[in-house]
Amino acid sequence: MALLKGTLDVLVLKTLSWGPMHGVEITAWLESRSDGKIDVTDAALLQALHRLEERELIAAEWAITDHGRRARYYRLTSAGRARLRAESTALIDHVKTLTAILTARSAET
């Protein structure tokens, strides 16, 4: 499923709202949650992560995973948390509106 433009960012923010994750974890979670329907290239994800980091919606730090491997972990900042709330509300409304129109049974309201 191709993502609408801009939704990747809010999805990433939502993913991180459960706690700090590193890049692969984020893709894994998104894939499992969407039953594989969301297919994002890794490059696109990394780009999104960096975009969000530049805008200071997420912050990054290096840590060692429980497997003993170094990884760059991302976490939400408070600004990011606020943005997540706003964006997800807007997006959900948007989808609701579209759904209402597209599931209309007749031309009359």
Partner: protein
């Protein structure tokens, strides 16, 4: 959301261990971070795929496939992003650091107000004065001619051996034939025009203004590329041959001032010599054409080149200035050679002798001021040097004091870089503040200069700050402030912390390097100040001598009136006598005569003289011929050195033109023509104009003293011949009054015009004004230089006393010990003071040498005092030495008063 839940959510999962966050300080670090991330990401991916059952090779391929774009591209994108982040972070950090440093710097400056104020003022003055003077110089010296074809305009002049280098006298009478020949045969010159000047009075609301006018050929203004603002310029039909003009173009300044810029100006009239002229147009402002008036003419009238000798006003035969417009691309040299060769082919074209010289109008305009301004350049350079040295000294002294502070901070862990940055910020803020103040001072100074400008240098009114100059002085001063302000960091680097602290405890002597630098600066300061002061002193003395120099006549209380009388010869004679009677009857008038104010109204010409009984003749090309009546010498107070006055009826048989048969010469001319002393009884006559028969010989009956123009220095006076006045329509009067000339002028004018309403009197020149205006430029330069000298002295005193006081205070401990050991206080003081004097002596010696070199360059401007004048040198040297003494003595005395036990204990 409660904070606790947020924290929980932000906690790593079990088993994850945080590393220290690596801040991205450098681009390299940023790149490394991006690379590491991509590698870690891929590694994790591959791990998971392998766990899921793929072989390592397949897992890697799959991981790369999932990447979605080539690895290199992805890497690039990540790197770029990391670098962007790094930049932002760096900027933010730098801004925060800067704010902090500034805060600390300001606080520190506030704690030492004396130092801060002195340093700022010194910088401001150095920068401000320099910029102002340089800008004024630039405005005066390099101002381009303010009309479109300005850089193609040249002026052919006949060089005059007698007056070489004095461009005022170099413009000779260009025969009309010569100009015609040029016009016909030239290939290098597009057009030739001529202009000559006059004065006229404008009666506006009853007040009479003295204004300048110029008679020009019809092609003059178009040749310059000048378009009239209003109305039109001249056309050939406007020229009245053998008669006064009846149209005029007025200047924009006159239009706005006397006619309030009214739009119906065309058609109104202006009066010249009692006759009305119709105004046909307005010329734009700022036409700084090099005529002898230094400001643009107020009015232009058309005229024709004629060969007539006494054409009166409206003709161009009396010494017109000739201007030529070069064809584009033609150089002055090429045109000059061509004009010369054409001139050689015209018979009698040489006229009054001398080589042809073609000069750019641009250079002619600026010729007079060059020397004086070069002097100012040098003075200003010295001032800049002194102010920089002072600032440097102050900063170094302060830096030394703070060595300890920096050592301690370094020991406590402050980064070297951080300390250096802080010092840099301090110096920068001081330099920038000083620079800004300097700009303010520059603007103010320029305004003051413009307000105090002498007449004739009116261009000073338009001078503004030149950006290039400002930049240059700012750069120099800021560099000085910066480099010396960073001394503390430098010192901190020189000595290990421990050494510094130990040394401070011991109170030992100052470091060798710093002391050497400071000593050098002190010596430089003294030397530069001395040189500047000596130059100022000599120029001041020159000026005083100039003022005392005998002019050869007495201008104070003397008035000069030039009067035009109409009518037949008899009528003019009657009116003239009536005027004389009227003037003599005035209460405060002690003498009236026909004659001119020396230096004004001289008619040029050449003279031919018999120099020995065998009839050999000699030529003198340039001469001032003065028409007078016999009483003139008495009225003007010109001494007669030998012989007698000419008979007032001694007219020659030649009719109205020419000299009387008995004439006087001045001493300079007598010496030139008859060095053996046989002037009286010798024959001389005017050199005839080309194609004219020679005049009859006149006889010299007396020798007068030389007269000079006020403000002109130089040992050689002009050559003068005094001849009895012919009754032409223009009659010059001089009047001796007991009042000042300025007060008497309106009275005299009224008396003259009361005689007959048809008399037209030109504006009356008062000798007092003449004297003042003549001396004004020199006085101006003198006051500037004096001001400089004073400022230089003040700066040097500050720098000197600051440095010496500082080093003395460093020796407080030593003084305390000596006193404690029972030394005689006065001996201690002497010991301390003598330490500084060695430097001062060296500075004085160097300064004297520099001063000698400087004054030798100045010697052409000096008058009545030599370039190596001992009294001036000695006086200034003593002055500087005295300041140094005081600067050392005061802090030494102060140190004495401190309780020795205190000084030992302190620290």
């Amino acid at each position: 959301m409660s904070p606790q839940r947020d924290r929980d959510r932000d906690a790593f999962r079990a088993g994850v261990r945080r590393l220290f966050k690596l801040p991205l300080f450098t681009r390299a670090a940023a790149r490394a971070d991006a690379d590491a991330e991509l590698d870690a990401f891929l590694a994790e991916r591959i791990d998971r795929l392998v766990l899921g059952g793929l072989t390592p090779a397949d897992a890697r391929a799959e991981a790369l496939r999932r990447l979605g774009s080539p690895e290199a591209d992805a890497r690039l994108v990540l790197r770029r992003s990391a670098q962007r982040r790094q930049r932002h972070q760096w900027l933010r950090q730098a801004a925060a650091d800067l704010r902090e440093d500034l805060r600390i710097a300001v606080r520190r400056f506030a704690h030492s107000p004396a130092f801060t104020a002195t340093a700022l003022l010194t910088l401001a003055f150095g920068i401000g004065a320099n910029t102002a003077i340089f800008s004024a110089v630039h405005g005066l010296l390099l101002a381009p001619l303010a009309f479109p074809n300005g850089n193609r305009i040249v002026m052919p002049m006949q060089e005059n051996d007698r007056y070489r280098g004095d461009s005022r006298f170099e413009r000779r009478n260009m025969a009309g034939a010569l100009i015609e020949a040029w016009q016909q045969r030239t290939h290098t010159v597009e057009d030739i025009a001529a202009a000559s000047e006059d004065m006229f009075s404008l009666d506006a609301d009853g007040t009479i203004d003295t204004l300048t006018s110029a008679v020009v050929t019809v092609n003059f203004l178009p040749m310059l590329g000048v378009e009239p603002l209003v109305g039109r310029g001249f056309s050939p039909g406007d020229v009245v041959r053998h008669g006064p003009p009846n149209v005029a173009v007025i200047s924009e300044a006159l239009w706005r001032q006397s006619y309030a810029g009214r739009s119906d100006i065309v058609g109104r009239t202006v009066t010249l010599d009692g006759r009305p002229l119709a105004i046909i147009g307005v010329a734009p402002a700022g036409l700084n054409i090099p005529l002898s008036h230094k400001t643009p003419p107020d009015m232009w009238v058309p005229g024709a080149l004629t060969d007539a000798v006494d054409g009166g006003t409206g003709s161009l035969d009396i010494s017109p200035s000739v201007f030529a417009l070069l064809r584009p691309g033609v150089s002055v040299d090429v045109a000059s050679r061509e004009l010369e060769s054409i001139a050689a082919g015209v018979p009698h074209a040489a006229g009054l002798g001398g080589r042809l010289r073609v000069m750019r109008a641009q250079d002619f305009v600026n010729a007079g001021e060059t020397r004086a301004l070069e002097v100012l350049f040098a003075a200003v350079g010295a001032l800049l040097l002194i102010s920089c040295a002072t600032v440097a000294n102050l900063l170094l002294a302060r830096a030394w004091t703070r060595q300890r502070e920096f050592a301690i901070r370094g020991a406590l862990g402050a980064g070297r870089r951080r300390l250096a940055r802080q010092v840099l910020t301090e110096s920068m803020s001081l330099a920038v503040a000083g620079g800004l103040l300097g700009i303010g001072v520059a603007g103010l100074t320029l305004r003051v200069i413009a307000a105090l400008r002498p007449p004739g240098l009116d261009r000073l009114a338009d001078v503004h700050i030149e950006p290039a100059v400002l930049l240059w002085t700012l750069v120099v001063s800021v560099l000085t402030g910066l480099s010396f302000g960073c001394a503390p960091a430098f010192f901190a680097g020189l000595h290990p912390v421990g050494d510094v602290l130990r040394r401070e405890m011991r109170g030992g002597s100052a470091g060798v390097t710093s002391r050497r630098v400071r000593s050098t600066l002190v010596v430089l300061q003294i030397a530069a100040s001395l040189a500047l002061l000596v130059a100022s002193g000599l120029l001041v003395r020159s000026f005083a001598a100039l003022q005392r120099m005998p002019l050869g006549f007495e201008p104070r209380g003397l008035l000069y009136a030039d009067v035009l009388i109409a009518g037949t010869r008899e009528q003019r004679g009657t009116i003239r006598d009536e005027i004389i009677r009227h003037l003599q009857s005035l209460r405060d008038v002690t003498g009236v005569s026909i004659g001119v104010m020396p230096g004004k109204g001289w008619l040029g010409g050449g003279v031919e003289a018999e120099i020995d009984p065998e009839g050999h003749t000699a030529d003198v090309p340039a001469l001032g011929t003065i028409m007078m009546s016999p009483g003139y010498l008495r009225v003007a107070r010109i001494p007669l050195l030998a012989g007698r006055l000419p008979d007032s009826t001694s007219f020659s048989s030649l009719g109205p033109a020419g000299w009387s048969s008995e004439v006087l010469v001045n001493r300079a001319l007598a010496r030139r023509l008859w060095p053996a002393g046989r002037a009286i009884g010798a024959h001389l006559r005017e050199k005839p104009f080309p194609g004219r028969p020679p005049a009859p010989w006149s006889t010299v009956v007396g020798v007068t003293s030389d007269t000079r123009i006020p403000g002109e220095s130089g040992d050689v006076a002009a050559y003068q011949v005094y001849t009895i006045d012919r009754l032409v329509s223009e009659v010059p009067f001089v009047v001796r009054t007991t009042m000042s000339g300025d007060d008497a002028a309106p009275i005299v004018k009224r008396a003259i015009t009361a005689v007959d309403p048809h008399i037209f009197a030109r504006p009356i020149l008062s000798g007092d004004t003449y004297l003042r205006d003549g001396l004004a430029p020199t006085r101006f330069a003198m006051s500037l230089l004096t001001a400089f000298g004073v400022v230089a002295l003040a700066l040097a005193a500050i720098g000197l006393s600051g440095v010496i006081a500082y080093s003395v205070s460093q020796r407080t401990r030593e003084i305390g010990i000596r006193l404690a050991l029972g030394a005689d206080p006065s001996r201690v003081v002497r010991h301390v003071v003598s330490g500084g004097l060695g430097l001062v002596a060296l500075g004085i010696a160097l300064g004297a040498a520099a001063a000698l070199a400087a004054t030798r360059a100045l010697s052409s401007m000096l008058y009545g005092v030599g370039a190596a004048d001992p009294p001036t040198f000695v006086a200034i040297a003593l002055l500087v030495g005295a300041i140094a003494l005081v600067a050392s003595y005061v802090p030494a005395r102060r140190a004495l008063r401190i309780d020795p036990a205190e000084t030992l204990r302190a620290d």
